[in-house]
Amino acid sequence: MADALDSNTLPQATLTPPRRSRISAIWLIPLLAAAVAIGIAVNRILNEGPTISILFQSAEGVEANKTIIKYKDVKIGQVTAVELHQNYSKVMVTARIDKHAEGLMVEDAKFWVVQPQVTLSGVSGLSTLLSGNYIGFEMGKSSKPQRHFTGLKVAPVIPIDQPGREFELTASDLGSVSVGSPLYFRRLQVGQVMTYQLAPDGNSVSISVFVNAPFDHFVSAQTRFWNASGVDVSLGDGGLDVRTQSLVSLLVGGIAFATPSSAVEPAPATADTTFVLYADRATAMKQPETISRHYVLYFTESLRGLTVGAPVTLFGLPAGEVADVGIDIDPATTEVRGRVEIVAYPERLVSDMHTEQSSSAQAMVQNPEQSHAFFQRLVMDRGLRAQLRSGSLLTGQLFVAFDFFPDAPKAEVDWGPKMPVIPTVPGTVTNLEDKVSDILAKVDKIPFETIGSEVAQTLLALNEAIKDIDKAVNRIDKGVIPELKPAISAVRSAMMSADRVLKNTDATLLGKDAPGQLELRDALQEVSRAARSLRVLTDYLERNPSSLIRGKNGEKP
């Protein structure tokens, strides 16, 4: 085969100058590829943020490589793994945080799973219905970086960067307040309850509330907070009092606050100031009592209706309140008596005074010696006494009233014991009770039984009278009608004799005296007509004697 080919007959290749370079340009391709790949890798590594782990109670709706972490709706990371942790009691979510969000991973950053939630105060997380659950993130204030976090069960109510201030409230109980409960100022929602927790000693509940920015200036040191949950219905001596903030607070509870108009220094309170959460508005808005004096009153009457917090009045003006109600034994007489401890706020009375006098009165109130002496004089000379009075007859509420009883037996304030004892007089309530029992006693004395038996006798007599009447009626029926017959015949004979008389008188009457005759004739005609009627009557009566009793029946005579 090779021999058949004459290599010389084959065409000769043409020759061109060689163009050769040492290194082929083809190596640019792998270099380029390597450059791009390395560039991407370097970019990746540089953009690689930290990997963090978050412990959750449950990883509901959290999926590896799908669930993202969002802060202000911007993706800052992605979940890379979800696994059980800590003896299978918790879920550890590992997530890779984007480089740009690395600085956010600080000590007090918060994570929580966002899922749709429908509560009474609103609907949240609706967007997750479409996009799936995501992990919410909230920036912390600290600058200390951290990589291991514990997820929150619920989203924090207030974003950390929301302008405003946080305050602490101390309450005896939580009431219907919950996380997210609204905070009202003049019935305007200005904040929310953030968290609450039981005090370590279990005696109180501390509630953190957040007041949004423009409104936090209205919270001063004198501001009072009270529980505005639900309907506050109080039946006091002022009548029925119903207060509520809003329909939402009825359902989810709420807290209201206000600053009393008397507050002197409305400087905004600093954040984290602790306030007392009062049970209701009335309690909260009471004047702050800087001076309070405790006294003891002893009553021999019933204390039913007297409650702790019942008003103590002087001339009807509020002067204090009942602090304690109880009983003790009088060591002198060994008798049980009602013991009422009151707390008086003399400043209240001072504030009710005339402006010119109030300053001197204030000075006196400040000085215990002076005020004691003044009080003693009032009791001894003017007869100032404490008395129990009824605030409302309907509810039986009692209150303690101070008034002047110049006729009361002499007494004086006993300054001896721990608390001064103020003399008392029996209350009007007892008088009223006495009066009522008087009336009842009188009612008791009415001889209802005698009256009853007399009535019975009268009724008996009446019964017999009715029977008599019955008999009389019977008698009339039987006796009267037969006796009518002779009477009628007597009438007839009378008529006949009258006829005869008329016949006899004819001669005299039918004389010359014509008018008289005419009149007589008329008269006679009348008489004869009458007689005819009488006859008709008598005939009828003969035929129907019963018509005397029953009247005529239908048929004509």
Partner: protein
Amino acid sequence: MAAALTAAQAGLIGCEHCGLLVRAASADEPGHCPRCGSPLESRRRQSIERTWALVIAAAICYIPANLLPVLGTTTLGSTEYDTIMGGVVFLYTSGSWPLALIVLIASVMVPLGKLIALGYLLISVQRRSSSSNRERTRLYRMVEFIGRWSMLDVFVDTFTVALVQLSPLMAVSPGPGVMFFAAVVVLTMIAATTFDPRLIWDAGGEPESRIG
């Protein structure tokens, strides 16, 4: 087959374009084809060097092609990026293992296989290995044949991206990985054409004596 003599040994060169068999102008300068004017090469110039470069470039691109996402699926606001292996795992875990197998073979194994095959050919040629020449030739043909089908993935990807654009509900966007994947395919294809299969027979003197 007793054709041990190659054209190169006979000082002849076959024009690669028009097929004209010519005598080389000289051993160093083969010159140009007198019929079509294309440069004549007894063996493709720098074939091994170029192929190596392209294979290395393809191998470099193969890494990001598998690490970077090839497809971004946006469903109602949330975007998910999937790598090729992620897709394979998803298909396998969701039960359709035949599909997973197809994707695995077409998108992962085949490019990798091409790279390995080309590398093997290059090394064997460089080491002047004279064994299993036919098998190596078959391997080369397979690599060349598969090359044109390797763009299937890229094609599907672009197709999906073009079709699924229901913007608020769902959208599909290409990931950076697909560019690298395409680069791998293109580079291996070029590498396959750059590799001169004639080199396989250059090695050794009597390959047939061994194979028989």
